[in-house]
């Protein structure tokens, strides 16, 4: 057993760190470091910088234009990007639909979509959740009826993150309403510019526009936009969810946010309060433990293909830690957490702490709520 990274891995870490320091535009870094939402252009700008370096798809194999990194290298890359204030990679294209295309897409689909994801020429969003299908995802109702060489799609998707920027949406649609729940679902790629697609913002409790409703009314989708086979969509959907969880622990981001918490707490004199200092210590300890747990899972993954149920452990603990950090940051500034979206009141760092805290409540809900993750642990790991 050896908990150290190899000299090669450490050299790679240096290389990534240097690259981020030199190439990340300062205005983007400042926004990320202070928890400010980025706009579409800023995300695209960073993705293109990475793509130029050949690092656009950290988890991608070489045959599709990725760097072909091992899990440890991907981990180091994401950690250093986070530490250096780089934007989180927009996962809908890179980490969700891309692996599905690679595994189940036709060669034509792969050539059509993958390069544009890598180069940030097309923005993807996820059409999974519906008003009546959240944790119980297989109960999606959006209907797709085949008419000649098109599907006619009707229904409503919701919680569509950054759908307002999207060129494409990948959707779970019901193609066989008679079949049992999971077996009547297909996986469709829909052009957001198609007639009948309407995006309506959902304003969240932090006052931000991050998620949307997507209405689909008689949307005509060419049959070549079907992934794999009709009515096999649930298989692809589950595959995607497995990939979505590979970096769910968010260690790099949590480390960056912990450092921010400590700066704020120090500036506010809160670390002199033993109770507050102990709360910070607790979250720091939890993060140290989770980092090792994460590396253990990565190490085990070298011999397995897809992440196992252990990823649920990472999701629960990772989101709890990020939420705890956001909560402590808000508490650290006391009453100056209260002015709502006021940039010019109180210390600079106080402006978005309460909204950040509010926003981070989503972490334990999305990507399979933490309660669903506990179901997975008790059933898949413990066999209950």
């Amino acid at each position: 057993m050896d908990l150290q990274f190899s000299p090669e891995e450490n050299a790679f870490r240096e290389e990534v760190r240097r690259f981020v320091a030199e190439q990340l535009p300062a205005p983007i870094r400042d926004k990320v470091m202070n928890g400010v939402h980025l706009n579409r252009d800023e995300h695209v700008q960073w993705q293109r910088i990475l793509h130029q370096r050949g690092w656009g798809g950290p988890g991608w194999p070489k045959e599709f234009g990725g760097p072909g990194w091992m899990p440890a290298e991907q981990y180091i890359f994401e950690e250093e990007c986070a530490a250096g204030g780089a934007p989180r990679l927009i996962s809908f294209g890179l980490k969700m639909i891309a692996p599905v295309l690679m595994a189940f897409g036709s060669p034509e689909q792969q050539q059509r979509y993958l390069p544009k994801i890598l180069a940030a020429e097309e923005w993807w969003c996820q059409g999974y959740s519906e008003p009546g299908a959240g944790s119980d995802l297989a109960s999606v109702k959006t209907r797709a009826v085949k008419e000649g060489d098109h599907y006619i799609v009707n229904g409503q998707k919701t919680w569509t993150t950054l759908g307002q920027y999207a060129d494409w949406i990948f959707c779970l649609v019901r193609t066989d309403p008679e079949a049992k729940k999971q077996s009547g679902i297909s996986f469709l790629l829909i052009d957001m510019k198609s007639p009948g697609v309407t995006v309506r913002p959902i304003i969240t409790l932090d006052g931000a526009h991050e998620v949307n409703e997507v209405w689909l009314e008689d949307v005509r989708v060419p049959v070549e936009n079907l992934i794999g086979e009709e009515n096999k969509g649930w298989t692809y959907a589950k595959f995607l969810l497995g990939h979505e969880r590979t970096n769910i622990a968010g260690i790099g981001i949590a480390k960056r946010e912990l450092a921010r918490l400590k700066r704020i707490a120090e500036a506010e004199g809160r670390l002199d309060d033993p109770l507050f200092a102990a709360r910070v210590a607790q979250v720091e300890i939890d993060l140290i433990a989770l980092e090792i747990t994460n590396l253990r899972v990565l190490s085990a993954e070298r011999t397995k293909k897809a992440p196992g149920p252990e990823a649920s452990i990472l999701k629960i603990k990772g989101t709890e830690i990020q939420q705890a950090i956001a909560e402590l940051m808000m508490q650290a500034v006391g009453p100056y957490a209260l002015p709502f979206r006021q940039e010019d009141v109180g210390p600079d760092y106080a402006a978005n702490l309460a909204t950040g805290y509010c926003n981070q409540r989503k972490l334990s809900i999305f990507g399979g709520s933490n309660e669903i993750q506990k179901n997975i642990i008790s059933q898949m790991i413990l066999g209950l």
């Binding site: 050896d2 433990a289 989770l290 209950l384």
Partner: protein, 373 residues
């Protein structure tokens, strides 16, 4: 980066696991616990025959020259069987302490002789040496003219020691380490059982004759050596806790699958499933930290070492409490009985949380060290 143990390490752990499963059954342990001494020389000799007492002693002194990882694997394997014998005190901490305190001065004949005399005996199971460190409140042990006075509190396995290594405040204000024979004049030893079925002793020294065995406390060398040896013990304790928690979770999972209420196994109920999931989260975080503790417990960088070990003890202490309490809860009334191993795991996990500094102490130390770093 590699979290796998090698074949030799796995074989070592297998050997100990098999020994516990076969020769350290619940009934056997109960008989040992209820005996006058509260531990078994026969078992101790078996452990010597297996070679595990020699694990943490260098080859030059009749040992096998292994390190904290192997000690952890052995302690983890002892966990499920709740070994009552003084392995941690006698075979992990004592050798580490003797190596660190008595070898500070190269060419020191007395120190050399002390190691020569005691380490091979420990390795062969012929002697049990125990560190007596924590003072009773208000009655710290002091040394004057080669004699010790004062009181040591709740010395784990103090009663079975052939030799006590006693830390004492010396006339110059430093810390010295002194060898004391338990039966000597001026030593009053009160041996008693502890919550976990193990043994401890309060030891009163009244001008007890003592031989100084450390090489002097220049720059707090002896104090640091004692802390270093205790940190190696703490890492091993963390591994023991993980072994117990793993066994506790396995037994509770089995219970949930077999116990029927409302016409179904109670493990079907989501409230209980989620509690089990929370227990597993604690276990995996604890396991990660026991690896960290094993890796860092021999570090020369005192601040980094203590910070890591405090982080480990906090994680493991909290896991001990959570898993122990909820395992009893999920067992319902059966969890309250003495006849299941579960309640004994519960008590040992409770004791571990309170040993080597409790969670609060380590949380505060971690906060202090993190701010200084």
């Amino acid at each position: 980066m590699n979290f796998d143990f090698n074949e030799e390490q796995m074989a070592l752990q297998d050997t100990v696991r098999r020994f516990i499963a076969k020769d350290y059954t619940f009934e056997k342990r109960r008989a040992i616990r209820d005996s006058v001494a509260g531990w078994s020389r026969e078992i101790w000799q078996s452990l010597a025959d297996l070679g595990v007492l020699a694990l943490n002693i260098d080859e030059e002194h009749g040992g096998l020259g292994y390190g904290p990882q192997e000690a952890g694997l052995v302690m983890d394997a002892f966990g499920a069987g709740l070994l009552l014998e003084p392995y941690l005190a006698g075979a992990v901490i004592a050798p580490a302490l003797i190596r660190r305190t008595t070898s500070a001065v190269p060419g020191d004949t007395a120190a050399h002789n002390f190691q020569e005399e005691w380490l091979p005996k420990i390795a062969a199971g012929k002697a049990i040496v125990v560190l007596a460190h924590a003072d009773a409140r208000g009655t710290a042990v002091t040394e004057a003219n080669g004699k010790l006075s004062g009181r040591k509190a709740v010395v784990a396995h103090g009663g079975c020691a052939d030799l006590l290594l006693v830390s004492a405040r010396t006339a110059d204000g430093g810390t010295g380490l002194f060898a004391v024979t338990p039966g000597a004049e001026g030593v009053a030893l009160h041996d008693y059982p502890t919550l976990d079925g193990q043994r401890a002793a309060d030891i009163i020294f009244d001008k007890a004759p003592a031989q100084r065995v450390d090489a002097g406390d220049t720059a707090n060398a002896t104090q640091h050596a004692i802390e270093a040896a205790l940190d190696i013990g703490l890492a091993a304790l963390c591994a023991e806790a993980v072994g117990i928690m793993e066994a506790t979770i396995a037994a509770t999972t089995d219970y949930l699958k077999t116990r029927q209420q409302f016409g179904q196994p109670i493990g079907r109920f989501q409230a209980l499933q989620h509690r089990m999931a929370d227990m597993l989260l604690h276990l995996e975080q604890a396991r990660s930290m026991s690896y960290l503790a094993a890796m860092h417990c021999t570090s020369e960088d005192t601040t980094a070492r203590q910070r890591s070990l405090s982080a480990a003890k906090v994680t493991i202490g909290q896991a001990c409490r959570f898993i122990a309490q909820n395992a009893v809860q999920l067992h319902g009334g059966m969890g309250m009985t003495d006849e299941l191993m579960l309640s004994h795991w519960f008590k040992r996990l409770t004791a571990i949380e309170m040993s080597f500094g409790d969670t609060d102490m380590h949380l505060q130390r971690f906060a202090r060290l993190s701010r200084a770093a």
